[in-house]
Symmetry: C2
Subunit: 474 residues, 2 copies
């Protein structure tokens, strides 16, 4: 799941003699930020010394050209990696082996994760004619009775539209046919549609897949039941079929659907976060933590979301190790488990490392795609953005030196809550939501060169953050 | 099915004072062409008088805005329209009713068509792990035994690659993993892959879907068995899964697939070409015939291929009728049946109207998509292109005045064989093969405005061709 980005201009350009990416504004910066910027400017010579290291990292990423094949081997061998699945745990075992081969220190920590299983499922238009609808039940949904739920369909275009037709919803299957605008805006119908439909007496709910482009491709993803309401089954159908049902309704044609879902939630299941480290040479207790999530939905290969994300982080640490660079602070790579349907990995990490969090100097996630890298989103103080901008100048040779405001990323959320500055790798994400949570999230959508560049961007940002004389300010 | 276009420059620019679309060349034109061009130039005033008619046609198409809703009503109500299916025949009945409401003269002619049925089908990777593969059997394929065919997979990248590995193919399922270049080049693996695989002893064959873009979307289409070889089942899988199997093979991993297909060919079934006319006021025996095919594959809605094509032709005739324009020659609209898997409609038409073909002055097909219109392809003599170019100037207001060389179109092929000049409507087809022969060929891919413009382009070209003082030269 991609956390939504708000690109907010901040007034740093005037503060920093570096190629700043923020839009200048007339707002007067807080004095602390100005002082810190001045301090960072004092380290310009140090930053300059990192240029050759950055070049070496970029060259090594390209020459090794390892990330794509490694990710493909995992994706092809084990398939998708839903929390609670055997394939996720097998993939984790394989990763631990490979990390050891890389010469990295590896530990893992147990995480109890939700265990939702899809089972067999189908949606069929049964009136006015019979047509099988491509569908995917939404993560966490309850199932239907074995004979399915057969009901008339009420198509609505928004929650307001549902309210306006609330009196017609009782006993029906409500379909939210909401065109994609932004993920943040549109995904609410996937997450919450079942609750609003239940509130007005619907027996099940459907959502138009959350995507700007469809080739008859349903998209799954998480829902969140409101415990005060009756739970009803909730599934995604394609843009194509949602539009068909919309047109039929507009034409005055009554439509009936039979929805069958075996979906159920089993007992929580054990999984693991995997952690690999290079210990800091001077301040091992200070930690730059970075990674992505290793779990995926139970469709496609989870190659983009978030196999690629966590593998470029892994490749970054591998390159640092291979080049025998010795960061002053500890660099810690985490393969978080269960981001998609529980965030238990990120939550457990923050809990297990509670006493270390004050010494987490920076947390970086890579879960926004691994296409051509553009830079990093930053969540933190203005001062943390000053330092991020200074370091990002090293990414200029690969045109990945953009620094913008953002949310940081889901897995590192619990760390960021304690005031640790956060970042997320950002990429050319024009097609991200074409593939997101579908059978089309597969290796063929990724590109070896782009994975190399993402790896280099992650390696440079994490290494310099771990090695820089000044610690990232809270 | 889209007939492939070759854009060939011809030397008309120097001949015609109109906005000619051909690249000037130094080649000396044949004297007949020069004489004819001079004759056409003499009618420039007549062409000028058609400008107000063309404007009226364009305005009416836009104001009525009828084509999209009419096509949607048919597609939504009856679904796809494979030859031999009840849904095709129901759609034909509905069309006849609507044509009569338009005040057009309607006849239909019986056509016996192949009756291939897909039945239940599946492809499953069974080793080294179990994974369901999205697939579509190819039209005309035989089925498998009820228990399916389970065999090791041999992935090849071309017919030459298959020859190079011929000794390994016996008893295997051959997968042609051929990336899309052009339709004409790539489709040969869909049409002929089963024969080449059978020749080297394969027990079944698979083809990577013929498309430049996939969101886990299989594409069906016709195959052609070579009767001198053992018939083997032939199906399409997705780009995603073809690439997966390719990577596994490259990695030295043996893969096994179970292919189950109930596909079979039943007795030929009766269908119909539907014909609607406006009789010519002066030369009713001279005919401008135009249309598209009404049958489709048994996936999606056949909205683009070729519902849109034949509906813009229909809408063109409806507009001419509504505006009470009286062409000198007869304008004849045909809904050809069975283009996709037999071309029986086009063949039967040429047979039934054998004695009229000498008086078919022009045949126009619309089966290359109905997105933003760009102009017409022309198949015929240089002189026919001179006249087409002259008339196309009337399409300049909607930027659809391009005239290029082409093949004319499949349904009108048997007419063109007798020397009748042919045309095909051409459009902005950048995404045509994204949707072609898939569940994504649905109404949401089309646009009311573009259908109106295509209708206007067809109406202007067909009306002026039917009304012009000079007959289209053979």
């Amino acid at each position: 799941m991609r956390i939504i980005t708000l690109i907010i201009s901040i007034s740093l350009a005037a503060l920093l003699p570096l190629k700043a990416q923020f839009t200048p504004q007339s707002k007067v910066p807080p004095p602390m930020t100005e002082q810190f910027a001045s301090q960072v400017r004092g380290y310009q010579q140090i930053i300059d010394t990192y240029h050759s290291t950055a070049e070496k990292i970029i060259r090594t990423a390209k020459q090794d050209n390892l990330c794509y094949d490694r990710l493909a081997e995992m994706c092809d061998t084990y398939g998708h990696r839903l929390s609670g699945s055997e394939s996720l745990e097998k993939a984790l075992d394989w990763i631990i082996e490979q990390l050891k081969k890389d010469g990295l220190d590896v530990t893992s920590e147990k995480v109890m994760v939700p265990h939702w299983v899809r089972g067999t499922e189908s949606a069929t238009l049964v009136s006015p004619r019979v047509k099988k609808l491509a569908m995917l039940g939404l993560g966490g949904s309850i199932g239907t009775p074995a004979e399915g739920i057969t009901a008339e369909v009420l198509v609505v275009k928004s929650f307001d539209d549902l309210k306006a037709h609330a009196s017609e919803a009782k006993g029906k299957i409500v379909l939210f046919n909401v065109p994609f605008t932004t993920y943040g805006e549109t995904v609410q119908y996937r997450v919450n549609g079942c609750n609003e439909a239940s509130r007005v007496g619907a027996v099940a709910s459907l959502v138009r897949s959350v995507t700007p482009v469809s080739l008859s491709t349903p998209h799954t993803g998480m829902l969140r039941y409101n415990d005060s309401l009756t739970k009803i089954p909730h599934a995604a159908i394609t843009v194509e079929d949602a539009e068909l049902l919309q047109r039929m309704q507009k034409r005055g044609v009554k439509t009936m659907i039979t929805l069958k879902m075996e979906a159920k939630t089993l007992e929580d299941s054990p999984s693991r976060n995997i952690i690999a480290e290079i210990k800091g040479s001077e301040k091992p207790e200070e930690i730059v933590v970075f990674g992505g999530h290793i779990d995926s939905w139970d469709v496609g290969q989870g190659a983009m979301d978030d196999g690629g994300g966590v593998f470029v982080a892994w490749n970054a640490l591998r390159i640092i190790k291979k080049l025998d660079l010795k960061p002053k602070r500890t660099m810690r790579l985490v393969f978080w488990t269960n981001e998609e349907n529980g965030l238990k990995g990120g939550t457990q990490y923050a809990l297990n490392h509670k006493n270390e969090l004050a010494n987490h100097v920076l947390a970086i996630e890579s879960d926004a795609g691994t296409f051509k890298p553009r830079g990093f989103e930053v969540k933190g103080s203005e001062r943390s953005k000053v330092l991020a901008t200074a370091i990002s100048s090293l990414l200029n040779p690969i045109a990945a030196d953009l620094i913008v405001d953002g949310d940081g990323g889901a897995d590192i959320g619990p760390i960021l809550e304690t005031g640790v500055p956060g970042m997320e790798l950002i990429v050319d994400d024009a097609k991200y939501f074409w593939y997101h949570h579908t059978d089309a999230d597969t290796m063929d959508k990724l590109n070896p060169d782009e994975l190399n560049l993402c790896s280099a961007a992650m390696a440079i940002m994490t290494f310099v953050a771990a090695d820089f004389p000044i610690r990232f300010p809270k």
